[in-house]
């Protein structure tokens, strides 16, 4: 019954999306206000129905209902409840249902809470949201029904990929999807504004909180995903330039650019057409990413052929939405008047350079990710990976960091180059001192990129707090604090990345119980190897004592886990976090006669990478609250004045 109820809710939601699109189209075209009155309740009902459908799927997973194909293929009755719950979206159909649920709920939120937008643009936006949703409903209902039954029911499920059996699964995909799909709101806003020809500062102010919210969630999702990969995969890497990672990075890059250009539009009424274009690109990148990941085309072109129906379906959706949006853009861009002019030395120019560099990195990641597909089509299989992306995106990102420090110190409209230079003296001095210090300490031992990364991180950290100098800190607006914290977060994260690649110490050893491994001042003694059992796994655990420079010993317990369904071995690294770095210990295979492989890394300041990411998201949250609170206060004062 639950499965059928979920399916009915999904069909009803799809029907409501169709109705919503019709109401908007006829209401706006015929100027029929009574039709438009109905749009908001319909959008809210659609959001509620998608939530019901998704809740139904969660219930099926929690109850381990093996008469449902999806549950039988991806779950197991012996799994801990958290993974039954999170396993709901650890598969294709469930994650697509999560996608449309987030889209439905986002549409309902736009219907309920958006007050700043002009009414016709608001309605056109909701129409756009319904149009995108329809395609994904069709995809779900016709090509990936999550509620399909099997008869007879399976005896038990096939289990969830053990790599995914981690608390990370409960947090990382939903956050990322909220971000991906949150960008659909920006996309719909752009469509709405193009339809009603309202591309101006008030439109940008209305769109900004939605972009900001999606961007915060994307930042959190990527940061969490990176840390999860770091501790789960067991080799100490935190970013692999894997196509799936690139798929999440591309929308983030576009959203970051959009966030800055929408601020230019909101503050100075400039960059009108470009901002609309970026809003289209940002969600297009979400869809492209989903296509790349969901169709399986990237692991191999042949994986695409395994399920050509799904792959082609998403490809057609992509073509309709991206093509349609670009066509609308091309048709209406002439109607968008050019925004306010600005001079070469101005904050606008800085933000344009930010947008240019972010777009270039985005383009490079996209080209690099797709290039192997292109060559394979000509029968030549190649690999594009970290060695390309690091060398090509790294230097551009470093230049971007410098612009990031200089931008907030430059005035809107026009500024004086010498003045800007004077404001940058302190960061420049810090850069020189850092250059000398790092050169003396580590010359020849570290690569060029980590070297420059460290120097720039230190200088940019100083530069990013510079907007607060000589200001009354208590009267500084919250959104300025937000910008400072987010920019500082970028510098902190960069410092972590540079330290990790420059100073990591690696030690591989095969040891017997009682033996000691030494690495970077740490002494690790293997006490014993013991078998242990968990809910749905068995493991070998190494009991170890670690102490640094003769300090008190700390117990470490790296494990090698075996999951029977599906049969898989995973490594559970033992992490020991200190203020100045992390000790990362992995238990490997048995080498020979009672000796065990150990992999040990000491990673100085590596945690700064994710701490910086969290700071960036926090900065976004401060900016969001700061802007919105100002709106609430103004409204409240207005009401009080009327009363």
């Amino acid at each position: 019954m639950i499965a059928e109820a979920g399916l009915v809710a999904l069909w009803l939601a799809a029907a409501l999306a169709f109705l919503q699109l019709g109401l908007v189209a006829f209401g706006l075209a015929g100027k029929k206000s009574e039709l438009l009155e109905a749009v908001r309740p319909v959008a809210v009902a659609q959001g509620a129905l998608t939530t019901i459908a998704f809740t139904a799927l969660i219930a099926l997973f929690m109850r381990s209902d093996m008469s449902v194909l999806l549950v039988a293929n991806n779950s197991h009755s012996m799994k801990p409840w958290l993974y039954k719950f999170a396993g709901t979206w650890g598969n294709h159909e469930g994650s697509m249902l999560l996608w449309v649920t987030v889209m439905g709920v986002a549409g309902a939120a736009v219907a309920l809470f958006e007050r700043a937008l002009r009414r016709d643009t608001h309605m056109a936006t909701l129409g756009g949201q319904a149009a995108i949703s329809l395609g994904f409903y069709a995809f779900l209902l016709f090509a990936s029904n999550p509620f399909a039954r099997i008869n007879p029911p399976a005896a038990d499920g096939q289990g969830l990929n053990p790599l995914l059996q981690d608390p990370g699964l409960a947090f990382h995909p939903p956050t990322l999807y909220l971000g991906y799909v949150g960008l659909s709101v920006a996309f719909s806003f752009a469509i709405g504004a193009l339809l009603t020809r309202q591309v101006d500062a008030s439109f940008a102010r209305a769109m900004r909180p939605w972009v900001l919210a999606a961007w915060i969630l994307l930042t959190l999702g990527i940061t969490a995903g990176s840390y999860w990969a770091y501790y789960e995969l067991g080799w100490g890497g935190w970013w692999f330039w894997d196509p799936v990672e690139n798929a999440s990075l591309m929308p983030w890059l576009a959203a970051t650019a959009l966030l800055h250009s929408v601020t230019v539009l909101a503050t100075r009424d400039a960059l009108r057409a470009w901002t609309v274009m970026l809003a289209v690109i940002a969600f297009s990148m979400s869809m492209v990413g989903t296509f790349l990941v969901r169709s399986g085309i990237l692991t191999s072109v042949h994986a695409f052929a395994v399920d050509p129906e799904r792959g082609s379906f998403i490809l057609v959706l992509l073509g309709i939405y991206i093509g349609g949006a670009l066509a609308l853009f091309g048709w209406r861009v002439g109607a968008v008047r050019e925004g306010a002019p600005f001079e070469l030395v101005s904050r606008e120019t800085m933000l344009v350079v930010n947008n240019l560099l972010l777009s270039v990195i985005l383009g490079l990641v996209l080209i690099g990710t797709l290039y192997p597909l292109l060559t394979e089509a000509f029968g030549h299989k190649v690999s594009v990976g970290a060695p390309y992306f690091d060398r090509i995106a790294g230097p551009i990102a470093l230049i971007l960091m410098i612009v990031m420090a200089a931008g907030p110190l430059t005035r809107w409209r026009r500024d004086n180059l010498a003045e800007v230079g004077r404001r940058l003296i302190v960061p420049a001095v810090i850069a020189m001192i850092a250059f000398a210090a790092v050169a003396i300490l580590a010359w020849g031992r570290i690569g060029v990129l980590p070297f420059l990364g460290l120097v720039i991180a230190l200088a940019v950290a100083a530069g990013s707090v510079a907007p607060l100098w000589k200001r009354n800190l208590r009267r500084t607006p919250l959104f300025t604090w937000g910008m400072v914290v987010a920019h500082l977060g970028c510098a902190v994260s960069l410092a972590g990345m540079a330290c990790d690649s420059a100073f990591t110490v690696e030690k591989l050893a095969a040891v017997r119980p009682g033996d000691v491994v030494e690495a970077a001042g740490w002494k690790l003694r293997l006490t014993r190897i013991v078998p242990i059992a968990g809910d749905n796994w068995t493991a070998l655990q190494a009991d170890m004592e670690a102490s640094r420079n003769g300090g008190p010993p700390v117990m470490l317990h790296p494990q090698s886990r075996f999951f029977p369904s599906p049969p898989t071995t995973t490594t559970e690294a033992a992490l020991l976090t200190r203020w100045n770095g992390q000790l990362y210990v992995v238990l490997g295979q048995e080498a020979d006669q009672g000796r065990w492989q150990l992999r040990v890394w000491w990673k100085p300041f590596v945690t700064l990478i994710w701490f910086g990411g969290a700071l960036v998201a926090l900065g976004g949250a401060l900016a969001l609250v700061g802007r919105e609170r100002r709106g609430w206060l103004l409204k409240w004062r207005g009401k009080a004045a009327v009363a």
């Binding site: 995969l233 067991g234 080799w235 100490g236 890497g237 692999f240 330039w241 894997d242 196509p243 692991t299 002019p341 600005f342 001079e343 070469l344 344009v352 240019l356 777009s359 270039v360 383009g363 490079l364 080209i367 690099g368 290039y371 060559t375 030549h380 299989k381 190649v382 690999s383 594009v384 990976g385 970290a386 060695p387 390309y388 060398r391 090509i392 551009i396 690696e506 030690k507 591989l508 050893a509 095969a510 078998p531 068995t538 493991a539 070998l540 090698s560 075996f562 029977p564 369904s565 049969p567 071995t569 490594t571 238990l587 490997g588 295979q589 048995e590 080498a591 020979d592 492989q597 992999r599």
Partner: protein
Amino acid sequence: MKALLTLFALLLTPPLLAQSALPPAPYADRQISDPALERKAKALMETIRCLTCQSQSIADSNASMAGDMRSQIRERIMAGEEPEHIRRWLIERYGDWVSYEPTADPVLWPLWGAPLLLIGLGLLLLRGRIKRKARR
């Protein structure tokens, strides 16, 4: 058959779970004692693709084949072979796909033009904008 295999695996789990059928290759997870040579080997490993994984280099893969390749690379480096020579040998055996190094394969050279092209395109757009403004 699958159920039987699973049962078999379960029975053998505690003592043998971390073992594959063959003992790991000697230098799969053992460093070269000379740190300079180890750095050389490591740098090469980071640009060699693990053929049985999804987009991972052999430097960070648990796959047994990646272990064998790491061992091969370390042994050849110790024997005095140059990294690029080893790469060519690997490419001969497994095809261009095995190397992530973007300078090695002429097919990848257009990728180096991409940033110039994109920045050029961006500047062209920007230049148009500044010109229009100057005429005002």
